[in-house]
């Protein structure tokens, strides 16, 4: 994966690009994405993958002016446009899934194939989505992964939280990334999507880990109910980061859009 920059109306956007095949845009979740993401590598085996970063993520410039759901939606449509893509396969995980679903609802004629991996965006009082903002680093693996131990190895390797210099960088990164994510997800990750999903025309695949403890699999059925014709692929022994725990199975589900 190569890290590149594209100009958009709002801000210069950093994005990963790699692979060959049909164009596919992947929108990351609140946790961000790294160059060595195994799921991107898997997708790149079959697709020409573009994975733009939300402003403020990794080394990308922040953009104070992207404040609300419509701003994020239009900005991301701008990114697709700036990349010169017409109706790419749109894939989004968690917060990225929320943005993808909004794009498909706002511009139903520009999004014909979409995969939503454990998307945020809906709220059921009986199944509250986890509050990721109050979680301490050591609490994250159990929340995000089916296999807590493997998740711990993945998330905390290289975290030197006792080193003040490291801690400061960690806090700055958190403030930049989750600060932006908070505009869509804080304090409740719901911005009216349920009232707009009727507009979606895209062929839609929903992918959910059976052990998702952030956005309960109950939401898969709610998305299925609200998006006409949506198909659900449930993946056993996978948590909220299903695409990291089961990259092969998740990529196979996306193949159904081809």
């Amino acid at each position: 994966m190569q890290l590149k920059t594209i100009k958009t109306h709002r801000a210069p956007v950093r994005y990963f690009e790699g692979g060959k095949g049909q164009p596919l845009v992947f929108l990351h979740g609140a946790g961000g994405i790294a160059a060595d993401d195994p799921f991107l590598a898997k997708l790149a085996e079959s697709f020409h993958v573009y994975a733009p970063l939300v402003p403020g993520y990794v080394d990308s410039e922040e953009c104070h002016e992207i404040r609300d759901m419509l701003d994020f939606t239009l900005h991301t449509l701008d990114v697709v446009d700036a990349l010169g893509l017409k109706d790419p396969i749109l894939v989004g995980h968690s917060m990225g899934g929320m943005i993808a679903a909004e794009m498909a609802a706002v511009c139903p004629n520009e999004v014909s194939r979409m995969a939503l991996i454990a998307p945020s965006g809906l709220w059921l009082d009986d199944h509250p989505v986890a509050d990721i903002f109050t979680k301490l680093p050591y609490e994250m693996p159990a929340l995000l992964f089916h296999d807590e131990e493997a998740g711990k190895a993945r998330l905390t390797t290289g975290l030197a939280l006792d080193d003040p210099k490291f801690l400061q960088n960690f806090l700055v990164t958190n403030a930049r990334q989750l600060g932006m994510a908070g505009r869509l997800l804080f304090p409740i990750p719901e911005r009216g999507l349920s009232e707009r999903l009727y507009r979606v025309k895209a062929k839609t695949i929903l992918v959910w880990g059976d052990s998702d403890r952030v956005v309960s699999p109950v939401y898969a059925h709610e998305f299925k109910r609200l998006i006409k014709g949506a198909q659900l692929v449930s993946i056993p022994e996978a948590g909220h980061l299903v695409q990291l725990e089961k990259p092969r199975e998740t990529a196979a589900a996306i193949q159904r859009l081809v």
Partner: protein, 423 residues
């Protein structure tokens, strides 16, 4: 010097094993710990103590706003202040303050502060905190990375409402109002003095300096640990080219307990001090700092939240730790005077917020400590900055002729007055 007697209004009935059995004193505190019937006496005692402080030499009595908080049962300081305005005569009412990003629309603050200023005859000192992450983000749901922008807009609206004498339209991002037309408006002109509680944000320093507001550092960790932060502020005052370095540009909160001797202070107050420092400040680290609440610049300057637990985890602080560390200034009037002088000089602060009711301190001890400070300590500190004695920019300016509560005539006199009219 201006001394304000401050009461956080802690809930005094947190159990001994509170810290072991609960993850946080704030945000998701166990509601079963609050007893509304017991609170009846607690509230009235706390208000009595504030009123008492107004009679023993303090310049102001102070209240603040916290939500879902075991050491602050005062989500609305304005309600408390309204009671105090009626029952006190001369002291300033220091409301430190209203978290203006939380009021919808924020003209509510302009209105309520105006009411307090009018009822009290111009005795209001107004505070505009951004609010802690616990209050503002977790209890009141504001989006962390947009909180400061919303705060700024609320501030601009309130000041414009206070200073504009005809209806105007306000087209903000967070508040849109067609007819802003403040009624009533404050006695103090152009508006009551403004204090801004802050915790080390560079942006807040600049905001205070540029607007001639007083910067208040409301820490519980005492004056020794505050040196670096206050130095940062005064360096910024110099850098920014402020016209003066008046100590009234700054305020500091300090826990203080006075007794006849140092030994008596420990004997009398230790239990209550430890209740506060070991029980009331038990805040879950996940609530201390919502990502995006503090600016990148502030994180980079190393201003970590005072609510984040020490990295080694909680340990039980002792009286000696707290005295040696300067968290608490306690002892005989002479000991307290010396340390207060040290505080005032080293931080260069003219406004002192005296935290004199601490934790589960009973009213008798609180009165004792308060009276000793008011009579034996405060007068000796009063004139520490003679060169700035006439700096009135950061304090209220009450009307000369004020009325007191309870001035209705007797029923007989009222009836006579009526009969004179009808005759």
């Amino acid at each position: 010097m201006k001394f304000t007697w401050f009461n956080l209004m802690p809930w005094p009935y947190l159990p001994d094993d509170f810290r072991e059995k609960n993850r946080s004193v704030w945000v998701d505190i166990d509601q079963a710990l609050f007893d509304p019937e017991k609170s009846h006496e607690v509230y009235n005692t706390y208000m009595d103590l504030l009123e008492y402080a107004g009679t023993v030499g303090f310049d102001g009595i102070g209240v603040n706003e916290h939500h879902q908080n075991g050491y602050g049962i005062m989500p609305s300081p304005n309600i408390i202040s309204a009671g105090l305005a009626r029952r006190t005569k001369d002291v300033a009412l220091v409301v430190l303050g209203n978290s203006i990003a939380l009021y919808n629309p924020p003209v509510r603050v302009a209105e309520e502060f105006a009411m307090l200023d009018c009822i009290s005859g111009g005795r209001l000192v107004a505070g505009f905190p951004v609010g802690t992450s616990m209050d503002t983000n977790y209890c009141y749901g504001q989006i962390p990375s947009l909180t400061r922008e919303k705060y700024q807009e609320a501030h601009d609206l309130i000041i414009k409402a206070w200073t504009t004498r005809e209806p105007f339209a306000f087209n903000g991002r967070y508040t849109k109002l067609r007819y802003v037309n403040l009624w009533p408006r404050p006695i103090q002109q152009p508006h009551p003095p403004i204090h801004i509680p802050g915790g080390g944000s560079v942006e807040t320093y600049d905001f205070c300096i540029d607007n001639t507001y007083s910067y208040s550092y409301l820490s519980f960790s005492g004056y020794i640990r505050a040196q670096a932060l206050m130095k940062g502020y005064w360096d910024r005052v110099a850098e920014r080219g402020a016209p003066d370095t008046s100590p009234y540009r700054a305020g500091f909160a300090q826990t203080i307990c006075v007794a006849e001797s140092d030994e008596e202070a420990e004997r009398l107050y230790s239990e209550h001090i430890l209740y506060f420092y070991n029980r009331c400040l038990h805040v879950y680290a996940g609530f201390a700092d919502a990502p995006g609440y503090r600016t990148i610049k502030t994180i980079q300057t190393g201003a970590l939240s005072q609510y984040a637990p020490p990295r080694a985890g909680y340990s039980k602080l002792t009286w000696k730790d707290l005295i040696d560390g300067g968290h608490v200034i306690a002892g005989s009037p002479e000991t307290v005077r010396q340390r207060m002088e040290d505080l005032i000089r080293s931080l260069h602060v003219g406004n002192i917020f005296c935290l004199m009711h601490v934790g589960n301190m009973p009213k008798e001890k609180c009165m004792y400590s308060t009276k000793l400070f008011g009579e034996k300590v405060l007068p000796k500190l009063r004139n520490m900055f003679p060169e700035f004695a006439d700096d009135g920019r950061f304090w209220c300016k009450p009307m000369k002729q004020r009325v007191a509560a309870g001035r209705l005539p007797s029923d007989r006199d009222a009836a006579e007055a009526v009969s004179r009219v009808t005759a």
